[in-house]
């Protein structure tokens, strides 16, 4: 049992044989031959029955796409029922029994990885779990996709090991690789790392506002942590406004009438 789980994908080594896809589907008992999911399909080939896929890029480049298992996962922070959990070892796992199907996690995932079983009457979100349960129970010692890879394009270890290995490879063959480890800093860092000879920014959504080093959960938490103060502050402001106006009106009435009167009826009518 490792202290942290991480995967390093070396894009230059992948031959696109899709053994990892098949192994993943076999281990997690996913229906291998799914009909094309929806009218509109994500071009990355992930679906509720394909938790990892091979993206074919021009020039014979194959990129394995799967959940990145962010260090500060947006999906975990937004799930209203906590059906997604960040495990201490790193993998982000989901609980289909707790999921209510609001699909907020799918909206927030910066890589657009989380999938939904649209065709089922009792649906759920699904995504790669880095085989967390099976590794923990000792059934397997590394994720199925890593085991299945015939070219060692995908290797498994702790995040520190993988980062060190990535930088070692970048240093060893500086001409072969772009000098960047994808996943080292983006959205606060991910557990699934990439080194490549092509630009991999297509793995995330293609907004001009590129993924920065800032982790996403703080964007909402910075606002949400103010909620109690906003709540009480608004109450105090409204209460005092009511009290001031009420008092002023009462004084006015008393002045104009020149006598003390019971103002409760005025309130009742409101």
């Amino acid at each position: 049992m490792r202290s942290s789980f991480a995967i390093l994908n070396d894009v230059t080594k992948c031959i696109g044989c899709e053994e990892c896809v098949a192994a993943c589907q076999k281990l997690h008992k996913l229906t291998p031959d799914v009909p094309p999911p929806r009218i509109e399909t994500a071009t990355d080939g992930l679906s509720s029955n394909r938790w990892t896929s091979i993206i074919r890029r021009p020039g014979g480049v194959f990129v394995k796409k799967q959940c990145r298992h962010c260090l500060e996962p947006a999906c975990v922070s937004v799930c209203p029922v906590g059906a997604l959990q960040k495990t201490p070892e790193g993998p982000v796992i989901w609980d289909g029994d707790r999921c209510i199907g609001c699909r907020y996690c799918m909206m927030t995932c910066p890589y657009g990885v989380v999938r939904f079983t649209w065709d089922l009457a009792i649906p759920s979100i699904r995504k790669c779990t880095l085989c967390y349960d099976k590794i923990r129970s000792g059934e397997i010692d590394k994720p199925a996709c890593v085991t299945a890879c015939p070219k060692e394009a995908t290797i498994f270890g702790t995040r520190e090991e993988m980062l060190a290995e990535a930088h070692r490879r970048l240093k060893a063959e500086p001409k072969k690789y772009i000098q960047h480890v994808w996943g080292e800093h983006e959205v606060g860092g991910t557990s699934v790392l990439y080194i490549s000879h092509v630009d991999l920014s297509f793995l995330g959504w293609t907004n001009p506002e590129k993924l920065s080093g800032v982790d996403l959960p703080t964007t909402t938490w910075d606002v949400l942590k103010m909620v109690p103060y906003e709540f009480l502050g608004m109450g105090a402001v409204m209460g005092s406004i009511w009290w001031v106006i009420e008092r002023r009106m009462r004084l006015q009435r008393e002045q104009s009438a020149g006598r003390l009167s019971n103002t409760d009826e005025g309130e009742d009518e409101s």
Binding site: C17, E18, V21, D33, P35, P37, R38, I39, E40, T41, T43, D44, G45, S47, R56, S77, V78, P80, V81, G82, R98, C99, I100, G101, C102, R103, Y104, M106, M107, T108, G112, V114, F116, W118, D119, P123, T206, N207, E209, K210, L216, P217, T219, T220, V223, L224, V227, E230, F231, L232, M234, G235, G239, W242, I245, E246, M249, E267, E269, S270
Partner: protein, 608 residues
Amino acid sequence: MTRRLGIFKGVLWFLFGMGAALIGVRLLRGLGVVTALSDVTPWGLWKGLNVFAGIAIGAGGFVLAAIAHVFHGEKYHPVARCAVLIALCAYSGAAISLFYEIGMPWKIWGPIVFWNPHSPLFEVAWCVMLYLNVLLIEFAPTVLELTHFHGLYRLALKLQLPAVILGIMISTLHQSTLGTLFLIMPERLNALWYTPSLPELFFVSAIACGLAAVIFVTLLVDWLYLRPHRIEMLAGLARYLVMVLSFYLIFRLGDMCRHGKLGLIGRGNLASWMFFGEILASCLIPILLFAASRWRRQPWVLWIGSSLCILGIVFNRLNASGIAMIWATDSHYFPAWTEFAVSFGLISAMVLAFLWMHEHEPVRSGLFSEVQNLRRLQIFQLPRPGQPWAGDLTFGPRRTYSLLFVLAAILGLALTPWHPLVRSTSVQRARGKNVLLLGYPTGTVHFPHADHIKRLGQKACATCHHLHRPGDTGTPCSSCHRDMYLPTKIFHHSHHIKVLGGNSSCEQCHPAGLPASARSVRPCSFCHRTDMMTSNTVVTKFDSIDAPGYRKAAHTLCIACHRKEAKNPKWKKPDLFRCATCHRTPVPHGIEVLRSRARPRTTPAPPM
């Protein structure tokens, strides 16, 4: 019942009927059947229109409550009551649409038990739930003053002010948190809409939208029930609206200025036009129309200004929750007609509920003395035992409305596809010696036909050409497996009747004495074994009138054979069964040996 009200309600009942039927289909068969949502666009019209825009429209409840009760705007008391009812209907609509919009409606209680305070949606869920209860308390006096529960009525009146203030507190939270929802999607949401100030912008625009909605609904109700417009009161609200909208406009543009995004408006692309249209409808035109005190006392100005403001802010919510993400996700989502039907059906139901309450409770008056007068006149009293049977005058409309409802429901159910939509993809016939399949998601397949003949010999033809048309010996796969993914019916009933000799031939396929159904029919191979089936290792029988989709058929045949041949030492190709052997991007690549011999798309791929 006025004529315009009758027609209005009739249309609403029709829409409601269709929506109700489709909600039923959605609950029974799942989201995939009635929505065009996808993994790329997981939120669609239902969340954007019915939840986000619906809650913005319902904001009038807390705004008017604040004006009337906290700021002591006595002249707005009647319309405050109406606003609370609008909020009640809008929030109920949002809650109901959330119920069928989430994947598992029976787990909608989830956020009550499983807490995640880090989630904006968790906060929204709690606030909507609490606010609905607060609204009920705020609305309680309206109902209770018609009953004989005087004690409860007095209690409800005492709770009024705390409920109003609590409502404002809760509304502040969730109206702004609806903006917080999108703060976590900087990489999805277009820069014209994404800003760290989204929560504040959402809160301010919700106030404006709520005010506009109250103006609009008051106008609509007075028009429907042929009552004179209450211009003075509405003009007062329009004045507030101008203030809020001006603040919103300055705030929004100033915020963009601060982040250096003002230049994006002038880009002239779709996003900038959408942004411009939104600002024009939600702010500029209403501000201009309502600015002059003489203008805002014209009913038509109030109509146009308020409806444009609502439309603009609804458009803002739709943009923020989906439309302004199409550039990042390259999405082609357009709501299915069933989504529109459900959305408008739910809105119709809520409007009907509003009108019903409006007709049955003195929502419009709001003044206690007036209500007591009405009570004395016994206008609102239910008939008591012993009162004469005076004929049910609503008899006619009820029949008409229920008929419209049922007809719409039938139409909706009949037109809905009951199974998830699967894209039909036709299969290309092999041209020359190569099959080009545009397959999802693993790329193009090149099938080197000549190479297969050379390696496997003529005897192997039957592996793929396992079934022929009569008199044919090389029927291509695509004549039966006509769709890439869907099974194709390959049996022609009328053709068989014609060929076999008319009606007297039934018993050749349908055994005598059994009901002639597809279940009892003889298998096709009963006749076709000798003349059309050739000996084959994979397809051993032909008993189904469905040919599987091309993909399934090809995978079944090819993989079985490739697995076997991979072990054949003759070819020295142990990787033959791997996906990449067949699935490649246009230029063959991936395997080192082949890269040097890359050839154009139309020529045969090199031998494997």
